[in-house]
């Protein structure tokens, strides 16, 4: 059996950052269901936040101010000590990226350039044109080649093996061989990313099923604040490809069908650079009230920036518009609509990235520390993945070094693998049944229609009912394709089981939370309610369905105020 001191699941930013910070003396492996460079981090565009104070008008910036903006942006649901930890470590983290070779754009004089982003008091977002995620992911991968890190690519993790609250290892489906393999590990870090494709309209890569979150849940790790789903204000209408907040940071306008910059009615000071929850709601309201175009979108107008600035600062956006919408943003406004983009919630971990299962850690979008609370600021996700990926690598390493691992768990992990094999075999032996791709499409439509930007009790109850119906139908699922190797039907079938848990957690958290906070807007409870709801939602998996509990938010310096922008 393949055995490691530390197995990291996910080859995106958080996973590679964990691999880089792990003790090099340990036997470390990174498992990814795609080649690491195909991870969704590659699609991040606009930038990464750190209070470098490089911008001429932003020299007074500090990590404390970054922390305050993050906490206010979170609608005060972020744990303030966690937000401070990230913002303090953000500054040296950027210089480390610079040393590793990230080709950041520069200010005159040669310092790393910074652009304005939503909800931030200063120009704080470091960038490389509009390909920031791509260059950072590629750079971390380059460094992992230098370190000779072991990768297991195109392996899908299917189970987390746990005994008596202690992590033992993993079970994987190896796409190339078609085999189900047991793996032993003293510690495991999940850096498995978000669940965007639980939704029909999402900016996320096709592979973002979020099964990592679901299978940690099933193994006993609680999920935190799952109802907080970020809808990005500006996705390209139709394909829902991300159009970076950097487009507004560089000066782009949002315009309705009356030709009006409508953000004036929602955030008169910050305008287009209000936080994402506010801008997404504003756009959806304009569309719902008939001031959009074709009842589907509003315009993101970049024409006044001029062709030169667009080509220099937003070349990727121009390319996306040309190829996927057949328009040039230098000549034509971009049709945009909100789409699911990011998960603030995730696997419940503490500031060391430890989950309540011994030896099990999580970092990046799949985890919830919580830094982003009820709404994440643009430019904070790359930084969170980087900083907490590093912390997870450090924490897991010191756990492995300092713990006793008597008693070989191989038999139990192998048993888990056999169980999955038996399940798949029994599916193959069926004569007929449900098609997994149809079930997946049904789930996505339910989530986009009932659990979107605006929510209410009726829709949420209907969504819960639809999910339990899907669960029944999943029991009748059948494997139609005659294939064992590189079988994406099998991948979908395995992941879908966990997607149902993730979807249910989102809906249940949203139904219970009878208030409006950050990205979670209840039309039937349209006010924030600090007395009743300034607390984290914690869901724990049981055979009979998730149980719900609540946990205090860590608040020290900043008392909750009304958010005005």
């Amino acid at each position: 059996m393949i055995s490691h001191d530390l197995l990291i699941v996910g080859g995106g930013l958080a996973g590679l950052a964990a691999a880089m910070s792990a003790d090099p003396k340990l036997k470390v492996g990174v498992i990814s269901k795609v080649h690491p460079l195909r991870s969704h981090s590659v699609a991040a565009q606009g930038g990464i936040n750190a209070a470098l104070g490089n911008s001429p008008e932003g020299q007074d910036d500090s990590w404390e101010k970054h922390a305050f903006d993050t906490i206010k942006g979170s609608d005060y649901l972020a744990d303030q000590d966690a937000a401070e930890l990230m913002c303090r470590r953000a500054v040296p983290a950027i210089y480390e990226l610079d040393q590793w070779g990230v080709p950041f754009s520069r200010f005159p004089g040669g310092a790393i350039a910074q652009r304005p982003f939503g909800g931030a008091g200063f120009s704080r977002t470091c960038y490389a044109a509009d390909r920031t995620g791509q260059v950072i992911l590629h750079t971390l991968f380059e460094q992992s080649v230098r370190r000779n890190i072991t990768f297991y690519n195109e392996w899908l993790v299917t189970n987390l093996a746990v005994r008596d609250g202690k992590c033992l290892g993993l079970v994987v489906y190896d796409l190339a061989s078609g085999k189900i393999l047991p793996l032993a590990a003293k510690a495991v870090i999940f850096a498995t990313g978000g669940y965007g494709r639980v939704y029909e309209r999402s900016t996320n890569a096709y592979i973002n099923f979020g099964s990592g979150i679901g299978l940690a849940f099933r193994a006993g790790a609680p999920l935190k604040d799952m109802e907080f789903v970020q809808f990005h204000p500006t996705s390209l209408c139709g394909k829902n490809i991300l159009i970076t907040e950097g487009a507004r940071g560089e000066g782009g306008y949002l315009v309705n069908n009356k030709g009006r910059r409508f953000m004036e009615d929602y955030a008169p000071t910050a305008m287009e650079l209000a936080p994402r929850d506010i801008v997404a709601r504003a756009i959806q309201t304009e569309i719902d009230q008939g001031r959009g175009f074709e009842n589907q979108y509003v315009h993101l107008d970049l024409r006044h920036l001029g062709r030169g600035k667009i080509e220099k600062r937003l070349p990727g956006i121009q390319e996306i518009c040309l190829h996927f919408a057949g328009l040039d943003p230098a000549d034509t406004p971009i049709p945009v609509q909100p789409a699911q983009h990011y998960s603030m919630g995730g696997i419940d971990v503490d500031k060391t990235c430890a989950a309540p299962i011994e030896g099990f850690y999580a970092a990046g979008e799949c985890a919830c520390v919580s830094v982003h609370g009820a709404n994440r600021l643009g430019g904070n996700s790359l930084m969170e993945a980087l900083v907490f990926g590093e912390i997870a690598g450090e924490s897991a390493s010191s756990y492995v070094r300092g713990s006793d691992f008597a008693g070989r768990p191989e038999r139990e992990i192998a048993e888990e693998a056999r169980k999955l094999q038996a399940k798949l075999q029994s599916l193959r032996e069926r004569a007929s049944g449900r098609n997994i791709f149809q079930l997946l499409n049904r789930l996505k439509l339910v989530m986009s229609e009932k659990v979107g930007v605006f929510r209410n009790e009726k829709d949420l109850r209907e969504a819960l009912a639809a999910i339990s119906e899907l669960r029944e139908d999943y029991r009748q699922v059948y494997i139609f394709g005659i294939c064992v190797r590189y079988c994406q039907e099998l991948v979908t079938l395995i992941e879908f089981d966990y997607m149902l848990d993730v979807a249910e957690a989102i809906v249940l958290g949203a139904l219970k939370r009878q208030e409006t906070r950050g990205s979670h807007f209840r039309t039937d409870y349209p006010k924030r309610d600090d007395a009743g709801w300034l607390k984290h939602t914690l869901l724990t998996w049981t055979e009979k369905g998730p149980t719900v509990a609540y946990e205090e938010v860590h608040i020290d310096k900043y008392k909750p105020q009304e958010r005005k922008y």
Binding site: L37, V42, H323, R485, Y486
Partner: protein, 241 residues
Amino acid sequence: MSLTFKILRFDPLEEKPPHFEVFQHEPKPRDSVLEALKDIRDQQDPSLSFRYSCREAVCGACGMVINGQITLACKTQVESLQSDLVVVEPLPNLEIQKDLFVDMEPFWEAYRRVQPYLQPAGARPDNGYRVEEKDMEKVFQYVTCIMCGCCYSSCPVVARDERYLGPAALAKLYRFIKDPRDKRPFSAWREVDSPSGLWGCDTVFRCNEVCPKAVRPADGIEGLRRALIVERTKRLLRPKK
């Protein structure tokens, strides 16, 4: 309108040789070839295997041959093909693992051989390096590369010499050579100063033609040749100790 998709199928573990299978499929308006392939898989044959991830031409997973053109499936609009017949084949110059999945390992092996990471000298400056934007911009062309392998698959030199590093790896190296922060030693050139390295290029520029990100890898290869000659000359002129 229903179109005919001819897709190459092959499983090296089975006896059947590579063969085309034909599917009738009506793409939705503005569908990419990737979206069409997914629908064909979901609705007609779930055993069809192909790589994909981002669907926005930035992850580099879905390189394949579409109506004879090496390109990304997600970036190719079905309508733009202006054809009732869509022929889909796996990337050439790489072995088929199954259907449209090819073994990218030789491509990654070449990537590793060029030492594809920044090699700065000395300690890290406290507040980051000072690099002028105009110098940084010189590497932007090359960092746009998404490592999809389209250039590698199109390269006639790779086709006849499996040791040849290929366009993407060499362009990656040039990205570091042009980076003012990189101070790699002269010995780092040894691996690429050979006919299977930067002297192998036939300058037929197939890589420039097929690159879905307009990287123009051949510019990088030419740049490497110039840079190596400059480095050599500098060493010749340097006074002996």
